[in-house]
Symmetry: C2
Subunit: 340 residues, 2 copies
């Protein structure tokens, strides 16, 4: 009998009230604010059970109840109807994103949009190189022994890297290198390139072998090993909403986590298509984010995923709203990318 419908309803009420008021919620207040149709005493009994099961807890004897991470989890999994975005929000998305001119532009607008709509810290990963395909590789002579390698991907990213050549290279030679490299790599998924780059060197005419080797090593290093993932961040000031009460006293750990790109990438990495993932408090692998929740989603044209985006906020957050917003924005950005 552990959890009948009313108990779930009580849990929902507790979560909703606590999210709103930021204060432990008691039995009396509950029946006042929600039409539960029972007396405070009954609610108390239910709360006792919920507490036993680990979904809520009291900060101290004779205070109201507060949801635990498990409580939020249950709330999200079983008690949340995804609320559709308000027209105002839809319009905000349109207004914000229209006229984006660039991949950079899209990413920046997206992250600011997310931050503004959810009133949380927003993170947007640039389309992942490893999931992109090469559209074009360009070699630009910078000096006699230096080339600038510019890679353009099908997702619109442009990456550049300086290549220090073993000796002077003539213009014709650059031309030749560019031709070969594009021949081999254009249109290929970046994930597949390592072996191709290898072949490139092997098949290369002996007199250009040295130059090509050099180029190849930079290619490998840039595109694969140092898998140059980038991301954009916005909404930091939102961390200070609701005092320092969220994040148990100090936001230092959260700031630290947000500063570590690697950590953030893990957070919004490896997502499944068309789903929105919610990590609540302790579920987070990263220690510094034990007091925070992360709502993230993959985005990309169609059903594929080229990157992740999401928000980071206190465990005490408006999950239904946040989830809906993150999902909507992810979808919108995906469609935007599909148009190109």
């Amino acid at each position: 009998m552990s959890l009948d419908d009313r108990k779930l309803e009580v849990l929902r009420a507790i979560v909703e009230d606590y999210v709103e008021t930021q204060e432990p919620v008691g039995s009396k207040a509950l029946v006042d604010r929600h039409k539960l149709g029972v007396s405070p005493a009954t609610v108390r009994n239910d709360m006792a059970v919920l507490e036993e099961e680990g979904y809520i807890r009291q900060p101290h004897t004779s205070a109201g109840r507060v949801p635990t991470d498990a409580g939020y989890r249950l709330f999200v999994d079983r008690l949340t109807k995804i609320k559709p975005l308000s027209p105002a929000e839809r319009r905000a998305i349109e207004r914000f994103m229209v006229g984006a001119v660039d991949l950079d532009d899209v990413v920046h607008r997206t992250v600011r949009l997310l931050a503004q709509l959810t009133r949380q810290v927003a993170v947007v990963q640039y389309p992942s190189l490893s999931r992109s395909a090469v559209r074009h590789l360009e070699l630009v002579p910078i000096s006699t022994t230096r080339l600038m390698l510019v890679m353009i991907t099908d997702t619109g990213r442009v990456e550049q890297r300086l290549v220090e050549m073993p000796g002077p290279v003539a213009d014709g030679e650059v031309w030749e290198l560019r031709l070969r490299v594009n021949e081999k790599l254009a249109g290929q998924k970046l994930a597949d390139t390592p072996s191709l780059v290898q072949k490139l060197v092997e098949e290369c005419a002996i007199e250009r072998r040295a130059a090509m080797t050099c180029l190849a090593s930079v290619l490998l290093e840039t595109l694969v090993e140092r898998s140059e993932e980038r991301l954009a961040l916005a909404g930091m000031p939102n961390l200070t909403r609701g005092g320092v009460l969220d994040f148990q006293g100090t936001l230092r750990p959260v700031l630290e986590a947000l500063e570590e790109e690697v950590i953030l990438l893990k957070l919004i990495g490896d997502l499944e298509p068309r789903t929105t993932r919610v990590l609540i408090g302790d579920e987070n692998q990263i220690d510094n984010l034990r007091s925070a929740s992360v709502v993230s989603s993959g985005y990309g044209p169609g059903a594929t995923i080229v990157g992740g985006l999401g928000v980071v906020g206190p465990t005490r957050m408006d999950y239904p709203g946040t989830i809906a917003t993150v999902r909507a924005v992810a979808r919108y950005v995906g469609d935007l990318l599909a148009q190109n």
Copy 2:
């Protein structure tokens, strides 16, 4: 007689102690910690004068004294011997920066280095486009009607922008456009380009006029109007050192200011060569930073400036150390750029 040597010495002692302990400093503590050679009573008289002059104040009657913004200013202007960097710091700079491979890489390393050495929030502006010269412009066909314009500057920045052409462009045409554009603009300061771009269109053969006009407008827009300045940020967690006592209670305004790129650019913009600027508290034009200080410096190869860098911290900061570090790092980065 307003400020004899001993009074200045007292001010210095107050600043140093307060910076270190974060607590109002009293006359007794002063004579204990510094060899002033006079009694607490004498120091009290001096402090009364300093307070009258507006250099220090008491948080409340019968508390110790705390420096005012004016006090810090006097301290910085007249009482600060630039302390040379410790060998450890010099080594840290070397170790951190060696092996930088890219402009991006240099900027990122620099900003992290600054944050770590000063234990403050660090800001580094990418070499300003308006102060750079065009090294090369590349046009890469993306589709029949779309080109990717890639600009490489002499400071190593690479900017790209999508150009939507009025109609299909053949490869040969692209080739021609690229040639003309480079002919005209390569080697020119970006600040000088607007008129040149104008000429470019005028001198253009009639059959390419439409395409060139389109390209020109993107060039102008990207390079000049939307003067695409970028910057990197690091060390956010440092804001939480010393509790929320610094920044008078809330770091929200500071976070807000740091999120506004425009604001930050103003902060570290228009610097004079080879100087380090210090803005203390109220001296700051930006309201949100009234409770913070900014130490900034221009950097660039030789005596020229191509960008700014600096740190943002509480007014209660170690000015001599911070100034020395900022200066050293700026110089180092300048030298690094000069090598390329």
